[in-house]
């Protein structure tokens, strides 16, 4: 399935990526090529096939609802590009 420029811009927005004007053509072509590769799977009839989400039949392990992690807030926030008073700083959301 071939994509057009508007669709590529929409996908980029959903993924929170910025694609510049000069890149749009190339990105559109590449993604269209990849979708053509992917579409090869449409040639097989899978109506009666049960989807496989995961290679093993696993049961989710449960644990007691107890706090086991130690508080490392200060240490972890040192990694942030911007933080203050235990909070992560981002550009102003509301004026």
């Amino acid at each position: 399935m071939a994509l057009d420029k508007t669709e590529v811009e929409k996908i980029a927005h959903l993924a929170r990526l910025h694609i510049s004007e000069s890149e749009t053509h190339e990105v559109t072509t590449r993604i269209t090529d990849i979708l053509a590769l992917i579409d090869q799977m449409q040639s097989v009839d899978t109506n009666a096939v049960e989807p496989l989400a995961h290679p093993l039949d696993l049961v989710q392990r449960l644990r007691a609802d107890k706090i086991t992690e130690e508080d490392q807030r200060d240490k972890l926030q040192q990694l942030a590009p911007a933080s203050e008073d235990g909070l992560y700083l981002v550009p102003k959301v509301l004026d």
Binding site: L3, V8, I11, A12, L14, A15, R16, L17, H18, I19, V27, R30, I31, D33, I34, L35, A36, L37, I38, D39, Q40, M41, Q42, V44, T46, V49, E50, P51, L52, A53, H54, P55, L56, L58, Q60, R61, R63, Q72, K75, L76, L79, A80, P81, A82, Y88, V90, P91, K92, V93
Partner: protein, 489 residues
């Protein structure tokens, strides 16, 4: 000693013929000589390596002994290492110093290994040539004009060039096996769930698995002994009895049934690789194996299904990189959306962005059934093919890659790069274990043979690999180019 196997170094350490400090220093010297050319390491931990080696020697003097005590290794830069830069090959994490260790790292530390450094890789493990790394291409030690394969290209090149005794890698669609084949080393992707994924930066969570890159099947078994086992921090880690993967290495192969998938010997396979694998099969027949053709009918659909499943999972996993809590943030964002978009567009490379886009599209409203659900159905068909084949055979053998390492920069089109993993991807979709071992040399470049096993039958794969290595010496071949360049004898 640096070109020795882990088993040999371990014996020399135990006998007191060499100290961990001496062998560690020898690898550090070798890295200093060759890494400029190969670019296999992103980070070298010289000071902490020597401290760890000293600690290992002291522990041994105090009576401690374990197979990997004092053995120098390298970790792929996808594993979080406490207080050490962990980049995942990306600008997004170019400044990320991990606050904790991945379980795999923790287990090797507990075994007394010495961390030499972190190896280069395709960005977020997305690539088959190591060319998508933000930190530059890795060169193949056999021919520095060629790629080492990917995504664990730095680890494979480091093992091949004797920059370390062993290295870790990860494999989502072939990322251990294909570079192992291209660099002439032994690599294994264990069964899904065998090795904890905790602290291993996630690409496609239902496919990712960590494994060893080593100089022999025996070394891979020694590494797997340390790496594998239940980890409560990874909900997909499997609770199985502890195994010693070295225990059955010497089992005779008489009567073993080896399956040959006709689809892996079809159009697209180079003549040299086909011949090398067929010669290996003749060797196995001499050892008493029974060779039988098997049919993996849907294997031609594996690449298509993979390029839905892996990007879809990646698009979700990589949404965490938003410039808020760690890693790269763009300069002077005007608002929150601008910060997200520019951080991600500047922090991620082209291939990563492409896969996030594909995954986002496949999961977007109205397309789920046509793409993700369809791919999961194909995934079932592929698993069923293997299940059927394994009722008739014990292991499946074929080529790891259709050809030897290609030239750097020669595959600019993503689809042709994706088709590189044509023989390896189905194994990840099914969650099976598989290894690649050296099986020959053509035009100065090594070739690899893939051995696929049943679920949790790593021991059988390693047995089959080890027996081959007892009767051939392809795994001992070294690039003369590198040996000459470093002045080693």
């Amino acid at each position: 000693m640096i070109n020795s196997t882990v088993a040999e170094i371990s014996a020399a350490l135990a006998a007191g013929d060499i100290s961990s400090v001496e062998i560690t220093q020898a690898y550090l010297d070798r890295i200093a000589t060759l890494n400029g050319e190969l670019n296999a390491f992103i980070t070298v931990c010289e000071d902490s390596a020597l401290l760890a080696a000293k600690a290992a020697d002291e522990a041994r003097a105090n009576g401690l002994d374990s197979p990997l005590l004092g053995i120098p290794l390298a970790h792929k830069d996808i594993f979080c290492t406490k207080d050490i830069l962990t980049t995942c090959g990306s600008r997004m994490l170019h400044n990320f110093v991990s606050p904790y260790n991945a379980t795999v790292v923790e287990r090797f530390n507990d075994a007394g290994t010495v961390l030499l450094g972190k190896t280069n890789m395709d960005e977020f493990a997305m690539g088959s040539s190591n060319e998508t790394s933000f930190f530059g291409d890795v060169k193949n030690p056999w021919n520095t004009e060629c790629v080492p394969g990917g995504s664990s290209g730095g680890s494979a090149a480091a093992v091949a060039a004797d920059l370390c005794a062993m290295a870790t890698g990860t494999d989502t669609g072939g990322s251990i096996r294909q570079p192992a084949a291209f660099c002439g080393v032994t690599g294994m992707k264990p069964s899904y769930g065998r090795v904890s994924r905790w602290g291993m930066i996630a690409f496609a969570s239902s496919l990712d698995q960590a494994g060893p890159l080593a100089k022999s099947a025996e070394d891979a078994a020694l590494m797997l002994n340390v790496m594998s086992g239940l980890d409560k921090k990874d909900s997909t880690s499997i609770d199985r009895p502890i195994e010693d993967f070295t225990a059955s290495l010497n089992q005779p192969l008489k009567g073993i049934r080896i399956g040959i998938p006709k689809q892996h010997f079809a159009e697209g396979l180079s003549r040299e690789v086909e011949q090398a694998v067929r010669d290996a099969l003749t060797e196995y027949e001499k050892l008493g194996a029974i060779i039988k053709e098997v049919d993996l009918t849907n294997s031609h659909l594996s690449v298509s299904a993979y390029y839905v499943v892996a990007p879809a999972e990646a698009s979700a996993n990589l949404s965490r990189f938003d410039g808020v809590r760690y890693g790269y943030r763009c300069e002077d964002p005007v608002n929150l959306e601008d910060m997200y978009k520019r951080t991600r567009s500047e922090g991620f490379g082209e291939e990563v962005k492409r896969r996030i886009m594909i995954g986002t599209y496949a999961l977007s409203a109205g397309f789920y059934d046509a793409y993700y659900r369809k791919a999961q159905k194909i995934r079932r068909l592929i698993k069923d093919d293997f299940d059927r084949a394994f009722t008739e055979v014990d292991v499946i053998i074929g080529p790891t890659s259709p050809h030897t390492a290609f030239k750097l920069g020669s595959k600019s089109d993503p689809v042709s790069m994706y088709l590189e993993d044509i023989y390896t991807i189905a194994v990840n979709l099914a969650g099976l274990p598989a290894a690649s071992i050296p099986v020959g040399i053509a035009n100065g470049l090594p070739m690899g043979m893939q051995i696929i096993g049943k679920y949790f039958d790593e021991a059988k794969i390693l047995n089959v690999a080890h027996q081959f290595q007892q009767h051939t010496d392809w795994h001992k071949q070294k690039s003369t180019a590198i040996t000459a360049a470093s002045g080693e004898s």
